[in-house]
Point group: C2
Chain length 175, copies 2
């Protein structure tokens, strides 16, 4: 039962808490859970693939204070997005290196649920791991669409990992 390692694709995203450019609570939870419960001591048996999907900023809410007057302004904005994405992926890659699990990481732009399923088709992982916020029955109607969409449409087994109650921030939409 040696053979090629089990390739686990993980969709990871930034925290939605403003000014906190780090991995979301649900991404970190899904990652730590995967190491702890699936990889365990069998570090050579798995390869983790981290996909970060950046959503094009349509309404520009994050950038209300900025004025874009020249093409260079947009270039610097793009490069800032890129820097944030790389910073996010660094967190996961460094942790993998520290414990000796092989990994790869990359950034794509688009609608997360569509991009994740597209990347599953392209990369053909053995398993897709998606965190979700695991909110109450009311919030569940409005969020969790990425994980639900992937469970239905991704062409590989999918594991969904909810945040537990004690990991939920005061405002449940913060992540």
């Amino acid at each position: 039962m040696a053979g090629a390692p089990t390739r686990v694709l993980m969709g990871v995203n930034e925290s939605t808490i403003k000014g906190y450019p780090h991995a979301s609570i649900s991404s970190r939870k899904a990652f730590e859970w995967t190491l702890d419960k699936i990889v365990r001591s069998n570090t050579s048996g798995f390869k983790l693939l981290f996909l970060h999907v950046q959503v094009p900023d349509e309404d520009g809410f994050d950038d209300m204070d900025s004025i874009y007057a020249s093409p260079e302004d947009f270039k610097s904005l793009k490069s800032r997005d890129r820097t944030r994405g790389i910073h996010l992926l660094e967190f996961f890659v460094e942790r993998c290196h520290a414990i000796g699990v092989a990994c790869e990481a990359w950034i794509k732009k688009g609608d997360p649920k569509e991009v994740i399923c597209h990347e599953v088709k392209r990369v053909q992982p053995d398993l897709l791991v998606v965190g979700c916020r695991g909110l109450g029955p009311f919030q569940r109607v409005f969020v969790g669409t990425v994980s639900e969409f992937c469970v239905k449409h991704a062409e590989c087994p999918v594991i969904t990992i909810k945040r537990s109650a004690e990991e939920t921030p005061q405002d449940p939409v913060d992540d």
Copy 2:
């Protein structure tokens, strides 16, 4: 990273093909996938828990040829159900013993999705594995409710494993 093994609860069911009292295609697929991609060579790192939920036979369709005339008839029917359930679980338990993975198996009666989520609450596994038939967009409306319900409501991470196209029988509701 040793510690207690990762406890994986698997909902398993019989094939719906009449006169074929064996594990369903999706149960076997989910089981073999779990061994191959998650457990791998780390057989001491995992414990598999097999739950078979028997649905009370309301319409009696399977038993149209039978006449129940005495309490003993029902007893023998119940004992036949029990025998079938045990036969099903034997398949999984024997396979686990052969490769040296610890396991437990039990039978419950009721609505599978409700019973599975209730057993998750009671047994507190690290992971729930549910197979699903992975049908086309049309059939998806009518089936797959067990796995969808569990993804939403089970109080632990859930992995859903669809059948691949080549494992789907001619009539996709056969499983």
